[in-house]
């Protein structure tokens, strides 16, 4: 189990350092599969767990990456990820985020023994990485990926804390996330056709900045 956690963390670091979209999508799908396996390992071979794990693998490991890949192919986006922060700097920040995650786990572990602390660390790390990607990557598609990573992290945290909501709820959550990312995928198409780029950095028509200062009320 700790191995899976480590692999998840590593995949995140990889994510941060990679400059290729295709690779990143593959990494996300890898995470999805890992999470499915993790669910099995953590929960045992109960039927409900199996349903959950399988649907997680199908949705996160196969369906979503497929959708994103299609979006990537059909848009005229460049295949490179365009970051605000360079890749090496991203990896370094990733390490810092890892440290932060560890610090948080240490503090919370004092409260109650956690089912799997390493797991929680990597869960936090995934959430942070997701946020980091959302903040620093320009393309809409990378942002979607960031969101996916973050969601994976949340899911992972749920697993690592051993909290079991009922299966229906878990399924509902999965479905919601799926629809969310599905919607994002659809919108990427629209963005592409509308703006001829999916660069959300240029996506700032709606703002409240007033350029001239000291304008007095008439």
């Amino acid at each position: 189990m700790n191995n899976i956690a480590a692999m998840l963390a590593l995949s995140c670091l990889f994510f941060l350092g990679s400059g290729r979209l295709r690779l990143s999508i593959r990494m996300a799908s890898f995470q999805g599969v890992l999470l499915g396996i993790l669910a099995l390992v953590a929960g045992g071979l109960k039927p409900s767990i199996i349903v959950l794990a399988v649907s997680s693998i199908v949705l996160k490991g196969i369906l979503l990456p497929w959708l994103l890949r299609r979006a990537m192919n059909s848009t005229c986006a460049r295949r490179e990820i365009e970051p605000f922060v360079s890749f090496s700097a991203s990896v370094l920040s990733g390490l810092a985020l890892l440290a932060l995650a560890q610090w948080l786990v240490n503090r919370t572990e004092l409260l109650t023994p956690i089912f799997s602390p390493v797991m929680l660390t990597s869960a936090y790390f995934m959430v942070f990485t997701g946020l980091f990607i959302l903040v620093t990557r320009k393309k809409a598609i990378t942002q979607t990926l960031g969101f996916l990573v973050m969601e994976n992290g949340v899911y992972c945290a749920g697993l690592s804390l051993g909290s079991e909501l009922s299966m229906l709820i878990e399924l509902g959550i999965l479905l919601d996330i799926f629809v969310g990312i599905f919607l994002m995928g659809i919108m990427i198409f629209h963005i592409d056709s509308e703006f001829e780029h999916i660069d959300t950095d240029k996506f700032n028509d709606l703002s409240d900045v007033i350029l001239q200062t000291g304008g007095e009320k008439e």
Binding site: T112, S163, I173, G180, L183, I186, T200, L206
Partner: protein, 492 residues
């Protein structure tokens, strides 16, 4: 089978039906039918004879009933508004990518999404289980994104994208919070609801509870539009069609607020009220300050309304933080704000339709060009800024009194200051729009005609806000008071 399941269930079914129906008129009729049934069901919950036992999923306690009433009332008004108004069909609907066939019929998607939206909000409001509530709230995001994107313009796309991404991120943080909340439960406890957690509050782990609360506050706070997580709100409210903005502002924000309240109930039962109060007060004042900052010099009247929503969410949270009578005030304010803000958005829709512009500099001289909507616009402005005799005044004034009751002088002072700042900021815009422009404009030559029927729903909503000051039905008061006590507040 519980009656409560009908509330989210029926609109869901109607939504699917809307997809299947091809005639626009039928879809509108479906919308009204669904709204009427929903309202009847909701009102029946207010009858003292109707007792609905909660099961493990859904509940109809005072809080849910209060928030459900907002949703249902608003939806009713909107359905009628939709019946009478004809939003322009998006011009470039045909330019959609070939692969996404169903998106090429925006009317269909719109009608269906509206129904789904209602279903999702009902679910979010009625859920007893935290997880189910989360699903409901996330579903509202998903159902409303197509609504925001209804116009198919670049700006609406941008707004919808931002809305979707920011809210999804926020909500996943809330999910993380929910996991932490589950961590706080003693082992073997399975009933993951506010009610049961409050009951066993002493067995909960306070540290986990705190962390969970922070995550949930940030998560749902994003959805609710608390500063500085409010950033999606002006864009989405500005770009969406009027009735969607009305729903977003009047009903959706409340759902997220309810999400926070449910956790707050647990926090209170666990004796961590002070911990939460500090955060609430800071968040409330910060939201109000942010809103007032952006309302000044605002050039877009729909964005102005959006920022006003941020302000009012701030007031609600501030009320929770002050506690005591302020909680009663906040509960009253939920209802008042919902109806008034929705009415204002509907009114703004009429103005937008007449002028074709959201700029305050263009949409001027409402006094003569659109006398009915102009009068409504000013009325709504007064109502939303808490001018007597609207019920918003009562709630804001009671909140102030509560702040002074609990000796929070500085908070009270800042609160009044910010309220006044927002008022002054909005006033400038409203005067500009209501009165004649200083220079002759080309619009002078156009004859404006207004459809009275589209103004009726807004007038109806304002009338509710006015009526509440002078008369509140007993069952409503009872629910209001129960809701207040369930949050540990004092009633009048």
């Amino acid at each position: 089978m519980n009656i409560l399941y009908l509330l989210p269930g029926l609109p869901f079914v109607f939504g699917i039906a809307s997809f299947l129906v091809s005639a626009e008129a039928t879809r509108r009729l479906l919308l009204i039918i669904s709204a009427v049934i929903h309202l009847i069901l909701t009102l029946s919950l207010f009858m003292p004879e109707v007792v609905v036992e909660p099961d493990s999923w859904l509940i109809a306690d005072a809080l849910s009933r209060l928030f459900l009433l907002c949703v249902s009332l608003l939806f009713m008004a909107l359905a009628f508004y939709h019946q009478f108004s004809s939003e322009q069909t998006p011009g470039n609907a045909n330019a959609m990518p070939q692969k996404m066939q169903f998106f090429r019929q925006p009317e269909k998607v719109f009608a269906a999404s509206l129904q789904f939206f209602l279903a999702a909000m009902s679910l979010a409001v009625l859920s007893r289980h935290f997880g189910l509530q989360w699903i409901g709230i996330e579903a509202t995001t998903l159902a409303s994104t197509p609504l925001i994107y209804y116009k198919r313009s670049r700006h609406s796309l941008e707004a919808a994208w931002k809305y979707l991404v920011i809210c999804s991120v926020g909500i996943s943080l809330a999910l993380l919070g929910l996991f932490f909340l589950a961590m706080a439960m003693p082992a073997g406890h399975h009933d993951f609801s506010s009610e049961s957690l409050s009951f066993y509050a002493t067995y909960l782990n306070p540290q986990w509870l705190k962390i969970a609360f922070l995550f949930i506050l940030v998560g749902y706070g994003t959805k609710m539009g608390l500063a500085p997580m409010h950033t999606w709100l002006p864009d989405a409210h500005g770009e969406a069609p009027a009735l969607v903005s009305a729903l977003l502002s009047g009903a959706l924000l409340n759902c997220a607020f309810l999400g926070i309240l449910r956790v707050f109930q647990v926090i209170q039962a666990a004796g961590l009220t002070i911990f939460a109060d500090e955060i609430f007060i800071v968040a409330g004042l910060l939201s109000m300050a942010t809103a007032s900052l952006f309302i000044f010099h605002q050039s877009d009247y729909k964005r102005m309304l959006a920022y006003s929503s941020v302000e009012h969410m701030g007031i609600l949270i501030l009320g929770m933080g002050i506690g005591g009578l302020a909680i009663f005030a906040a509960m009253l304010h939920v209802v008042c704000h919902s109806v008034v803000k929705a009415g204002l958005f509907l009114c703004s829709g009429n103005i937008l339709k007449a002028f074709g512009s959201r700029k305050c500099d263009v949409a001027t001289d409402l006094k003569r060009r659109l006398p009915v909507n102009g009068a409504l616009w000013v009325t709504g402005f007064l109502a939303i800024t808490g001018a007597p005799p609207f019920a918003t005044f009562l709630s804001e004034f009671l909140l102030l009194k509560a702040a002074l009751d609990s000796n929070k002088m500085l908070v009270a002072f800042l609160y009044v200051l910010l309220l006044s700042a927002v008022f002054v900021g909005m006033l400038g815009i409203v005067i500009k729009m209501y009165s004649a422009p200083s220079q002759q404009s080309e619009l002078d030559k156009i004859a404006f005609k207004e459809e009275i029927f589209t103004a009726v729903p807004a007038a109806f909503l304002f009338a509710i806000a006015l009526l509440l000051t002078f008369y509140a039905p007993d069952s409503f008061m009872a629910v209001l008071k129960d809701a207040t006590t369930s949050l540990g507040g004092k009633t009048l």
